[in-house]
């Protein structure tokens, strides 16, 4: 069955900073709908007062990876898009995938090895089969 890999989203923003305007709009309007649509993600909203670090959206996944995305000077819709993108990701590292295919059963009839199509020593050929 499908298990969503996002465990929790922490929204850290300041209630007075100018670049956190999108984050504040997000919290006022859209955050409740988002939390209702994704009941398996815990959403924490923590405003830290005063001019502090930049507003950030921190996502924690089931395999322990923590991913932070800056949301300074982003509109509310962009933050919603970011949040859904993080919710649909898994916690694997974002690195270049070497090949886009993978299979657990590389061969169905048996892998070829140098002896596959050679006849076995035991098969006897020729007129020797007829009784003398």
């Amino acid at each position: 069955r499908y298990v969503r890999q996002l465990q929790r989203l922490q929204l850290l923003f300041s209630p007075t900073g100018a670049d956190a305007r999108g984050a504040r709009q997000f919290v006022e309007e859209v955050a409740q709908d988002f939390a209702r649509q994704h009941p398996d993600v815990v959403l924490y909203v923590s405003p830290h007062s005063g001019p502090g670090p930049a507003p950030v959206l921190r996502a924690e996944y089931l395999n322990g990876t923590v991913r932070e995305e800056l949301i300074a000077s982003k509109t509310s819709e962009e933050i919603l898009q970011l949040a859904t993108k993080l919710a649909n990701q898994s916690g694997l590292d974002i690195i270049r995938i070497r090949k886009p295919f993978h299979t657990d059963n590389p061969s169905v009839q048996g892998q070829w090895h140098p002896l596959t199509n050679k006849p076995s020593i035991l098969t006897v050929q020729g007129p020797r089969l007829q009784p003398q």
Partner: protein, 274 residues
């Protein structure tokens, strides 16, 4: 520990956990499932150290040993039933080996870690040792059994344990010391004569790395053949290949059937056989 870092709401985390697994849990059963006996002892010791009265020292929490036992019994019975249905030729020892592997500490704690149980489980040490994780996960299964009934619990066990068998070979899980003897027993049960080993192919006999293919023939019909470095190793490998074919656990068997089960009797039998 995650529960001691900022931004932690236990009730919300437990609700999210039950939604993540797409199961309806009775929340109080689930909360008792996460309480381990070592946690209860450490909490009582800490309260006694802080100098509280005797009444306040005794915590009102039940721990999860009862639920864990019930979960373990149900999981073992259900898995044994699944394997008996899927591989009818497999002997009882093989099924027991498979079930033991699936309920072993490493596997269960690996599954529990990837489902974030290590954050929710209340225990004394950090990070939680694997037997604590195993006990907690089995208690979660027990809680699911109590709240939703044996059918849903059976589907849950099937969805999370059986994919751990993908890509694994039978004899990696089940240690067989004498495959030839086992093969002879199986063949006498089916009234087939004893197998005769013959060399089928050989390569590089006089080098450092010879390869011998030994085939097992019953009544001059081929049963199986296997490769090996020496003649003895090749014969043993051929016996193992023959056993895999007989038990139906080859690499090209049909994959496991995960469709919705329609019979309710199977799960009832699992409960009544405990």
């Amino acid at each position: 520990r995650r529960s001691e870092k900022p931004n932690w709401d236990y009730h919300a985390e437990i609700q999210a956990f039950s939604h993540r697994l797409q199961e309806n849990f009775a929340l109080d059963l689930l909360k008792t499932a996460f309480v381990n006996p070592c946690y209860v002892e450490s909490e009582e010791a800490r309260r006694r150290q802080l100098g509280l009265d005797k009444d306040a020292v005794a915590l009102q929490l039940q721990d999860n040993t009862g639920l864990a036992e019930r979960g373990l019994r149900f999981a073992r019975a259900y898995l044994a039933q699944c394997f008996e249905g899927a591989y009818p030729q497999l002997p009882a020892k093989g099924i027991e080996a498979l079930v033991n592997f699936l309920t072993s500490q490493e596997l269960v704690s690996y599954v529990a870690q990837n489902l974030s149980i290590q954050d929710l489980a209340l225990c004394r040490d950090f990070p939680a040792p694997p037997d604590v994780l195993q006990r907690t996960f089995l208690a979660v299964i027990g809680a699911l059994l109590e709240s939703s009934g044996p059918e849903r619990a059976g589907i849950f066990v099937r969805d999370f344990f059986i994919p751990q068998l993908i890509g694994k070979d039978l004899f990696e899980i089940w240690e067989v010391v004498n495959p030839m003897g086992l093969l002879l027993e199986e063949l006498t049960k089916r009234n087939v004569s004893a197998p005769e080993p013959r060399i089928t192919r050989q390569l590089g006999v006089s080098t450092v790395l010879p390869v011998y293919f030994v085939g097992l023939y019953c009544d001059k019909k081929i049963l199986a053949e296997g490769p090996g470095e020496t003649l003895l190793a090749a014969e043993e490998e051929a016996a193992r290949v023959a056993l895999r074919k007989l038990y139906g656990y080859t690499e090209n068997r049909r994959p496991w059937d995960y469709s919705k089960p329609k019979q309710g009797l199977a799960a009832e039998k699992a409960i009544s056989s405990n």
